[in-house]
């Protein structure tokens, strides 16, 4: 009963969305190369996967996202911790972090493509950069808000520095850290596509450009968009699942 109640709104919203889309296509009488109807896109989506057109591009993009997210989140944990616990680190680093965050990734991407070429490295770097900020900030906030009583408990039990970090501070800050990662993982998708646009020979961002340009296959472009959206949703749900597993039992 509970699953039914959870599923009904989701399915309902999807039906409304698809119905509205179809209605716009019919009323506006748009040709498929401007706005293809939902069933045309669905057909192309299935076809592209069946023909093996989509698979290599999707795998490339997924690899960029996973590696970039991993690298960005790992370094953000480290730096976020330092920012929380060291005044000096905060003073030294925070201006650069804010400046880096304020510079649009779109503007940085061509430079990174120039330096690292059209291979995997540049895209991973862009993903890592875009993931870094939200995870670092949420880690900093999370570590700073750890109950001082817990730290005193650790002191009274003669915990080592490392034990305090791994057994008290990180677990206590985990809800905030995972919140930042949820934001970060969706941004990683953006980073991968931006990176591919700035220079790349494979990936879903490249496929969008191909579909719009030389192939002139607009339904394929929509099918690619759908794939990107599905990857984003899947990764978001994955982080959410990890979050539920790790901190669901707390309160």
């Amino acid at each position: 009963m509970r699953t039914v109640r959870a599923v009904v709104p989701v399915v309902g919203a999807a039906i409304v969305f698809l119905g509205f889309w179809k209605l716009v296509v019919i009323v506006g009488d748009y040709p498929p190369f401007i706005l293809p109807a939902p069933e045309v896109v669905a057909d192309r989506f299935v076809g592209a996967w069946a023909e093996g057109v989509m698979t290599p591009h999707a795998l490339t993009t997924l690899a960029e996202i996973v590696l970039g997210f991993g690298a960005g989140a790992a370094s953000a944990l480290l730096i976020g911790y330092l920012l929380a616990r060291s005044r000096l680190a905060e003073r030294l680093l925070s201006p650069y972090l804010v400046a880096a965050q304020a510079t649009p990734i779109l503007a940085l991407a061509p430079l990174i493509a120039l330096w690292f070429g059209s291979g995997l490295t540049g895209k991973v770097l862009i993903c890592a950069l875009i993931v870094f900020f939200p995870v670092a900030v949420s880690t900093m906030v999370g570590i700073r808000s750890v109950d001082r009583g817990l730290l005193e408990l650790g002191q009274s039990l003669r915990a080592t520095r490392w034990q305090v970090v791994t057994k008290l501070e990180i677990p206590a800050a985990l809800p905030q850290i995972l919140g930042g990662m949820r934001v970060g993982v969706t941004l990683a998708v953006v980073g991968a596509i931006v990176g591919e646009w700035a220079g790349g020979d494979q990936g879903l961002g490249v496929l969008i450009n191909l579909a719009r340009g030389s192939l002139f296959d607009i339904p394929l472009m929509f099918a690619t968009l759908l794939t990107i959206a599905l990857i984003g949703v899947a990764l978001y749900l994955f982080v959410l699942l990890v979050e539920r597993r790790l901190i669901g039992a707390r309160a």
Binding site: D147, Q163, A249, A251
Partner: protein, 236 residues
């Protein structure tokens, strides 16, 4: 300065209660004994060895339970052993033993948020005792609990003490609790805290509430209250 010129001698295996007005440095004194704070001058000794920082010979129960919400009760009680490097199965066995001792058997797998306030503080007592410290420090341990639960836990603390022969130093603002538990009650003045009285409680042990000598109990309580009030007047 929170406390000044305090000299207290706590005999092995006895219970000493420290009472005093708010801000008299009761908690500071307790943290000095436990090595969480270091004195600007003077010395804390347990047996013949000085306390120089957090000490394995001491177990502390704080005012709040300070349980880790992401761990079950066993995991919380076993934490001190885990930090000391004891292997998993051994420390869990030991933690379960302690849960039996504080009346939490059957709650091994419960999370802190599933327990009542009293049960959480029992778990905190179990955690403080799990490394078999010679000295147990309690910082207003039951003050956040309702009166009935507090009385019950006071009684169980006495039973626990009788079985473990631990030396107990307890900070409280509850005179009745101090008299009921302690062999001696040390009264601190307002900040900076000094010892203004050291009152022996001669009630026979084992103590329980029904068999208590009411006259002796009130006499001790009155003596403590008198010293607290004189001090309060002196400040006012």
């Amino acid at each position: 300065m929170a406390v000044e010129s305090v000299s207290i001698d706590v005999p092995d295996g006895s219970i000493v209660a420290i009472v005093g007005p708010n801000g008299s440095g009761k908690s500071t004194l307790l943290r000095l004994i436990g090595g969480l704070l270091l004195p600007d001058s003077g010395e804390i000794r347990i047996g013949d060895r000085p306390v120089e920082g957090a000490d394995a010979r001491v177990g502390i129960v704080f005012q709040e339970p300070r349980l880790l919400p992401w761990r079950d009760v066993v995991g919380n009680v076993a934490l001190p052993l885990e930090l000391a490097g004891m292997p998993g199965p051994a420390r869990e066995r030991r933690a379960r033993e302690l849960l039996g001792l504080v009346g939490l058997e059957g709650f091994d797998g419960a999370r802190p948020h599933q327990l009542s306030g009293g049960m959480r503080q029992r778990a905190a007592v179990a955690r403080a005792l799990v490394r078999e410290p010679g000295v147990l420090l309690l910082d207003e341990p039951f003050s956040a609990l309702d009166a009935l639960t507090r009385e019950r836990l006071d009684l169980e603390l006495l039973r626990l003490w009788e079985r473990t022969a631990t030396t107990i130093v307890l900070v409280t603002h509850d005179i009745a609790e101090a008299v009921f538990l302690a062999d001696r009650v040390v009264v601190l003045s307002a900040r900076p805290g000094r010892v203004v009285a050291d009152i022996p409680v001669t009630l026979p042990r084992p103590r329980d509430r029904s068999g208590l000598d009411a006259a002796a109990f009130s006499a001790a309580a009155a003596a403590i209250r008198a010293r607290l009030e004189t001090d309060a007047e002196a400040v006012a």
